[in-house]
Structure formats: structure tokens, C-alpha cells
Symmetry: C2
Subunit: 325 residues, 2 copies
């Protein structure tokens, strides 16, 4: 009886959420309530053999488990990763990771850490996190757009992530904006993410600096030193180039989101990731252009909202949601 | 016992499928197997009071029921109609019907014919018909594009029609192709259906006739006399204007379908309706452009197929599927 009582109070059921990014891998132990008991990060191993990454991961997780102040029961592992495939538990042809081809990630992690493991792409994980712990609680039809280096998306229909037939549904960043437009990392031209992302708005600033004679602080900054935060800062200070860059970005996103609404008629579209931090200088234009491009039947039917999750933890919570949902 | 036996062999369970179009309303009594026991059509009443339509419908259906050679049990009524809303059982703001505003169709039909009634839009009905009785049997993720006067679409995810939050999901015809493009019946400009539909290809022919000096039989035909069938016929005979019109149409559809694949990663996209009858002169270009605009991860993952249903009956079967599924 004594023992049972101890187990009751001491062993907490948690999921391990892992977010594999091109630079860092973040992880955290997450309770059903969304409380993160412990979190950490380490450099994503850039050796092209995944086995080195798995070894690093095992070492990190063992260390983190040992450091936990209380006993936990690990009920499973959820992983968000670029080109993560939920059906097959794989990462496939991810251009910003060192491992080429098809990586059987869930099998390798299960063997290494001895817990049921699910994989999905990072934006799908963000959408699940939003549904369980963020501002999409109770919503059954919504879309999450994550704008960082690229543009990712997670689509929820009838309360479930849309994976599609192949498992790769929700790659809105590769929709065509301009068939002869900017070169994309995917090999195509004019993809949405070449315009609407932290990188996309940098490209837009450089285009505007080239086209106009307008003075701007941004003329003093090299492309590689320029960041979306700087552009946001200058736009807030009234810099014309920065302001125009946000208008251009918001206009393209608004027009393409109307296409998304014609597909899915979602209750809300969440804008998340670095670029979304710009707030109203981005959102106002997105909403204006979205509404402008919706026919009467759809007008004022879709909310455009910021993510309800702390940026820092959303990827961990999202990945853990694969287990906790 | 005698009576029970008779009921067993004589009373067949059937659904009534109704397709309300701008000109005609078609209906049929459909068995679970997809067999149509009887069908008919009548002119859609153009009085702006729906009550006249309901009266016509009741008269027609009573007559058809009386003419059936055997006893049936009517298990329900499914209706496909422009801007039909499944959630509310309404037709809302349909531009090509006489009834304005919001029409409580399912309630009126239930009261009149005394059977459970569901309403959806005509393209959603086509998608359900394809899933139950056509070439999408066994598929859980696919899209149906219907190309007639306009362009309609029905989206299936995880075996269910996507209605979205408002019930109006799947209006792909109003995606933006060109923000400054052709005027659309919806009030916007440059909608997909102004290019890709029976009407759209007529507009393209006239644009090409205006731009070029190429001789063509089509120069002898007035816009109102021109049909998609004629353009198909001339393209098959090698007419350059007609051929170029199909290339243009297929190119735009292929590019936009790539965007749809990035949303949904469907197993197949079905092209249905009048314009799809053109066959390979349309399909080849659509498939070429779709593949060209898909990134590596998505290439060769989506089939583009003709509908597996007879055009004549697909709308009736689709509407009946609301009950039979």
C-alpha cells in the first residue's frame, strides 16, 4: 500500500518532445497539462550518417532524465523535423539536414531510447501544439503558417492533422506565386516561401533597395547581416523601404491565404514563427488582402491570429502532442 | 408470414438524389448498389419564391413514385445544389439560382416530402458519388474538379468530404490566377473559373483570336454560339487557335492543381464535367504542368484521372450518396 501510494505521487506520465532543426535540436519532457518539466538543446550533428545524431540524442536524453527531480514514466516520443513523414516515421529528402535520402528516424529512436516514437514535420507539430495547448483549443478546422527561414504549414480538418495520401500534405510554402519568380531551395521558381519568410522579406528589401532611390538605414547592412528583426525594427521607426517590404510580404501572403480558404474554409489561420513577431505591420496587410480576395460567401469568416504558444517552447509542445493528444 | 415475405421481396430501400441546376433539376431513385431505379428531370422554377420550386418538386416526385414498378422504402433525400451548405441544409447566395439570400432547403423538402433531407454543393456531391460508385472507390484522399459553366470542386480527406468551419470549403474555382484578370460572376477578378471552365476556354479563344492573325474556323462563330465542344472538335482537327486555347487552359489548371497538392497531397485528382470530355488534349497539358510545378518530394505522387461516372447520372448518384454512404 505504501509503495502504491508513492508511485501515485512520484511517477508522472510525460512525453518527450523533440524538435530537430538544421542548427539545433531542442527537447523537453512534457506533461498532459502542457507543463514542461525540463528542457534542453544541443547542436544537430552534421555528420551525414544519422547514427552520430542518434548517439548524441541518447546521451543528452539519458543525462536529462537523470537530472529530473522526480520519477517519470516516459509514455512516448514525438519528433518534429523538416520533411518528417508521420505514416512512415521517416525524414525524407530534407534539404536543410545533413542526412540525405530516406532516414528511418522513428525506428532508430525507438531502438535507442526504448519508447514508442512518432515523427511528423515541424509545422504539423506546431499545429498540434496549437490545438492542445495554444489558441486553437476547441477548434476543429484551422491552419498554422510558420514563417522562419522558410514557410511551413500545418492543416487541421475535423480535428485531425491532414497528412494526405503520401504523408506530406501541408507544404504551402511551395505554392507558386510567380512561375518566373525567385529561385527556391526546392529547385523551383517563385515559391511562396521565397517571398513570405524571414529570408523572403530580406530578398524583398534588397529588391526594393535596387529599384528605388529611397534613403534607408538598410542600405548600410549586408545581406548576410540583415535579419527580419532589423526590418521589423526599421518599419516600426517609419523606414519607407522596410514598410514597403512588409506591405509587399503581407499582400502576397493575404492573396495566397485566400486560396487556402477556398480549399478549406478554416475557422482561423495562425501566423507563427520569427516573421509573425512583427505583429500588426504584417497582420493588418495580410487581413486586408485576404478579405479583398474572398468572395462574399467567405468574407469575415476566417480569423487571422498570432500563435498562442511561446515561440521558444511551441516546437517542443507540438512534438510532444503527437503522444499527448 | 405471407405479408412479411412480400415486404421482403418487394420493398427496396432507395435514396432520392436531386441535383438542382440553374436550368434543370434532375432526380433519381438510387439503390445502395448504385443502381438507378428511375430518373427524371424538370425545369428549375425561376420564380424567386422557393415555394414554387418545392411545389413542382413534390408533384414530380409523387408522379415518379407512383410510376415505379415496385414498392420502395424512401430512406432519405440528398440534394446537390450551388452553394449548398451541408451543416445548415441551406442554399446561400447562389448567383445562378433565382432564390436570393439564405434558403432553408432541407427543412422545406423534409416538410414537403416527409423524408430526412441533406444538402451539399453539387461538386461535393460529385466527389461523394465518385467515392461510392466511381473511380475513387477505396481512396481516402482525393479531389474532384467539375468543369462546366464554372469550376466546382469537392475535397475528400481521410474518407470524408471537407466542409470546413462554415460548410463552404472546396471552392477552388475562385482561387486567384491573376489579381487583375478576367471579371468573375462572384465580383472578383482573375478567378480560376474565368480561365478553366467551358466559359473560360471560350474567353481564351476570343482572346487568342483578338491577339493573333491566325486563321481559324472559330472566327465565324459568335461568342454566344461558341461551345467547349466546338473548341474541342476544332482542336482535334488541328486548329491552331483551339489547340493553343487548350494548352493555355491546361497550363493554368496544372499550375493551380500543384498548389492544391501542396495543401492536401491527394492520391488522385479527378477532372469531370463538360470540359473534361476533351480528354488527352486537356489532360496531357494539365499533367505536364502539374508535375513541372511539384517539388521532388511530390513528383509522380498524384494521379490525374477522368471521372468514373457517366456524366448524365453522376450528379444524381452524388446527391444520393449523402444518404447511401
Amino acid at each position: 500500500m505504501q509503495k502504491f501510494y508513492q508511485a501515485e505521487i512520484m511517477s508522472r506520465q510525460v512525453a518527450l518532445g523533440i524538435d530537430i532543426g538544421g542548427t539545433d535540436t531542442k527537447y523537453g519532457f512534457v506533461e498532459k497539462s502542457g507543463e514542461i518539466l525540463s528542457k534542453g538543446k544541443f547542436s544537430t550533428n552534421t555528420n551525414d550518417d544519422i547514427i552520430f545524431f542518434i548517439a548524441d540524442l541518447k546521451k543528452e536524453i539519458k543525462k536529462a532524465l537523470a537530472a529530473l527531480p522526480e520519477q517519470i514514466e516516459l509514455i512516448g516520443i514525438g519528433i518534429g523535423a523538416p520533411n518528417g513523414n508521420f505514416y512512415r516515421g521517416t525524414i525524407e529528402q530534407a534539404t536543410n539536414l545533413a542526412w540525405k535520402g530516406i532516414v528511418p528516424l522513428s525506428r532508430l529512436v525507438e531502438e535507442s531510447l526504448n519508447a514508442k516514437t512518432y515523427v511528423t514535420n515541424d509545422a504539423n507539430a506546431a499545429a498540434m501544439g496549437e490545438m492542445l495547448f495554444g489558441s486553437a483549443k476547441g477548434m476543429r478546422n484551422f491552419v498554422v503558417i510558420t514563417m522562419g527561414t522558410g514557410l511551413g504549414s500545418g492543416i487541421v480538418v475535423n480535428g485531425e492533422i491532414v497528412y494526405g495520401h503520401s504523408g506530406f500534405a501541408g507544404e504551402l510554402g511551395h505554392q507558386t506565386v510567380n512561375i518566373n519568380g525567385r529561385s527556391c531551395a526546392c529547385g523551383k521558381k517563385g515559391c511562396l516561401e521565397t517571398y513570405v519568410s524571414a529570408t523572403g522579406i530580406k530578398r524583398t528589401v534588397y529588391k526594393l533597395l535596387a529599384d528605388s532611390r529611397e534613403e534607408s538605414v538598410l542600405r548600410n547592412i549586408g545581406f548576410n547581416d540583415l535579419s527580419a528583426e532589423m526590418i521589423t525594427g526599421e518599419a516600426l521607426r517609419g523606414d519607407k523601404i522596410a514598410t514597403e517590404a512588409f506591405e509587399y510580404t503581407g499582400r502576397i501572403l493575404g492573396i495566397k491565404l485566400a486560396d487556402t480558404v477556398y480549399h478549406l474554409a478554416p475557422e482561423a489561420i495562425f501566423l507563427a514563427g520569427g516573421l509573425a513577431k512583427a505583429g500588426s505591420i504584417l497582420f493588418d496587410q495580410v487581413i486586408f488582402q485576404l478579405e479583398k480576395n474572398l468572395m462574399t460567401l467567405f468574407k469575415d469568416s476566417v480569423k487571422v491570429l498570432p500563435s498562442g504558444l511561446e515561440d521558444q517552447d511551441s516546437s517542443i509542445l507540438g512534438a510532444a502532442s503527437l503522444i499527448l493528444k
